[in-house]
């Protein structure tokens, strides 16, 4: 087997492994809320998430095209030198992803992937090999705007849900029914996750195939076998990672009420699906976290715990440069040592993956090291037990007080 072919195979294997860890990481984004509110049993939720991730991967390929033909200027790079750089970038992304997962630090799989690829390309091929316009408009700006968009929409949707079901006669308001609705909305989030996240790996594999000359650069669409492989891998990762959801439940989502969860999930799914259709590569974790915070603020008498919110946001800010730095170091090893550099990178990847896997097995899985920044974002909003009355409630209280006063006269 030729060296180039071997590297392509190694990249595909590594990319699929990344896809698996992505599914493994992110099951909770879709399914933590419905389990927390009792809408779904954990096993059913995990299976449903896996199936819908699989289906979602087939819905669109816009995000894959952004990665395969936008961020990196393949035409300005020597193909033989570029394949090891993709490999180095993937190792950077996986290393950062697994490291943050082990330490329980807030991170984003998607930004780790972009960071790793961009860092490795800059180190190996120079600053001009990156299209900063595409990076800014399709990666950085969506990273800032998408959680904000999801938060604002979740805020408005929560207000709407509470306003429409509020009763002033002390009779049951029927909000328990939102638990059933959450089965529907959390399924949509799983579908949206498959649509956006599986495509990132499709994009990396397609980019590799284009560079290797196995696919025409004029057609940046992922091939059917690539879509199928990525869809199956992300679904498998989702299913395997699902059991950890239960561990995160006590952490932050216990205060999420069904109406709030329903609104947050509707907002998450709508934002991710709309963005995917336009080719924006988002972090689903960040969007889901933005929605949970926004929907928390949509409840009366709530306020932001800025310290928790700030910790989450700092974690997000660090992901791209940190993964970029790891990817850059890996690319530097390749640039200095050539073929031996690739071997060293491969050994490093295997050692990192095995070490972190063994460490994670040895240490007890707790809410602190398991996963789900979404659950953590639930604690970023403080909701009072007795919210202040609405305008109509205040008017009713005033009228009652007036009646009592008149009666006492």
């Amino acid at each position: 087997m030729e060296t180039a072919t071997l590297i392509v195979v190694m990249i595909i294997v590594l990319a699929l492994f990344f896809d698996f860890t992505n599914g493994f990481h992110d099951t909770a984004n879709a399914m933590a809320t419905p389990i927390a509110t009792g809408a779904l049993k954990p096993k059913v939720a995990v299976l449903l998430a896996a199936i819908l991730n699989l289906v979602g991967a087939f819905l669109s390929t816009e995000v894959a095209k952004t990665i395969s033909s936008g961020i990196i200027r393949e035409d300005q790079i020597d193909p033989n030198a570029f394949l090891p750089l993709i490999f180095a970038g993937l190792i950077g992304a996986i290393t950062w992803n697994m490291f943050t997962w082990l330490l329980g630090l807030p991170s984003s799989s998607s930004h780790a992937l972009f960071g790793g690829l961009i860092g490795a390309t800059i180190v190996g091929a120079g600053w001009m090999a990156i299209d900063y316009g595409v990076v800014l408009s399709k990666v950085i700006l969506p990273a800032i705007l998408a959680p904000l968009t999801a938060g604002i929409i979740a805020f408005l949707a929560t207000r709407l849900a509470y306003a429409m079901t509020r009763r002033y006669d002390a009779k049951p308001d029927g909000r328990d029914g939102f638990r059933w609705g959450q089965i529907f909305t959390s399924s949509l989030v799983a579908l949206a996750h498959g649509t956006n996240d599986a495509q990132k790996t499709m994009g990396v594999i397609t980019l590799t195939l284009i560079i290797a000359g196995w696919q025409s650069s004029a057609d940046a669409d992922p091939q059917t076998w690539v879509i199928l492989a990525c869809a199956i891998t992300i679904a498998l990762g989702t299913y395997m990672g699902g059991w950890r959801i239960i561990r995160t439940l006590g952490k932050g989502l216990t205060d999420v009420k069904p109406a709030q969860g329903f609104s947050a999930e509707s907002s998450t799914a709508a934002t991710i699906l709309a963005s995917s259709a336009l080719g924006f590569a988002l972090s689903t974790t960040q969007v889901a976290s933005g929605s949970v915070i926004g929907s928390g603020l949509g409840r009366r008498g709530s306020s932001v715990r800025w310290r928790t919110a700030g910790r989450i946001m700092i974690g997000w800010l660090f992901t791209l440069p940190a993964a970029g730095a790891v990817g850059g170091i890996m690319a530097l090893v390749v640039a200095w040592l050539g073929g031996w550099g690739i071997v060293i990178d491969a050994i490093f990847a295997v050692v990192v993956i095995l070490t972190i896997f063994l460490l994670s097995r040895r240490n007890a899985v707790t809410a602190a090291n398991a996963m789900s920044e979404v659950a953590e974002s639930g604690t970023a909003v403080k909701v009072t037990r007795n919210p202040p009355p609405t305008r109509r409630q205040r008017a009713a209280l005033r009228a009652e007080a007036r009646r009592e006063k008149e009666a006492s006269k």
């Binding site: 009792g38 079901t165 049951p172 239960i246």
Partner: protein, 111 residues
């Protein structure tokens, strides 16, 4: 190096997502409101996961069921009005589902 940013695309995402969320949440909430009006207050059974949290205790679930039954008994509406409300509720749920389906079809056919 071109740094042209398509701001319209961001506005498009915001408006499309807002419209979708408002339609789904709005119709679903309306459905729940009408369901309560029809005397069919949704009550979810108790759920508990041993190594996590108690979602709803048996006592809470019983209390909710009792309140729902009481509200249904005391409804001032006629049987016909309740029937209309129930039909309206299911229509609203259907509209919420249609909004989602429409959105997904738009994505598939625009692709």
């Amino acid at each position: 190096m071109s740094l042209s940013i398509d701001w319209f695309a961001f506005i498009q995402v915001f408006l499309a997502a807002l419209l979708a969320a408002v339609l789904v949440v709005g119709f679903y909430s309306l459905g729940l409101r009408l369901l309560v009006r029809a005397g069919r207050v949704p009550v979810v059974g108790p759920a508990e996961f041993t190594d996590a949290i108690t979602v709803i205790t048996v006592k809470d679930a019983q209390r909710a069921a009792k309140a729902a039954a009481k509200a249904a008994r005391k409804s001032p509406l006629t049987a016909g009005q309740r029937q209309v409300a129930a039909v309206g509720a299911y229509l609203s749920f259907g509209m919420a589902a249609l909004a989602v389906l429409g959105g997904l079809l738009l994505i598939i056919f625009n692709h």
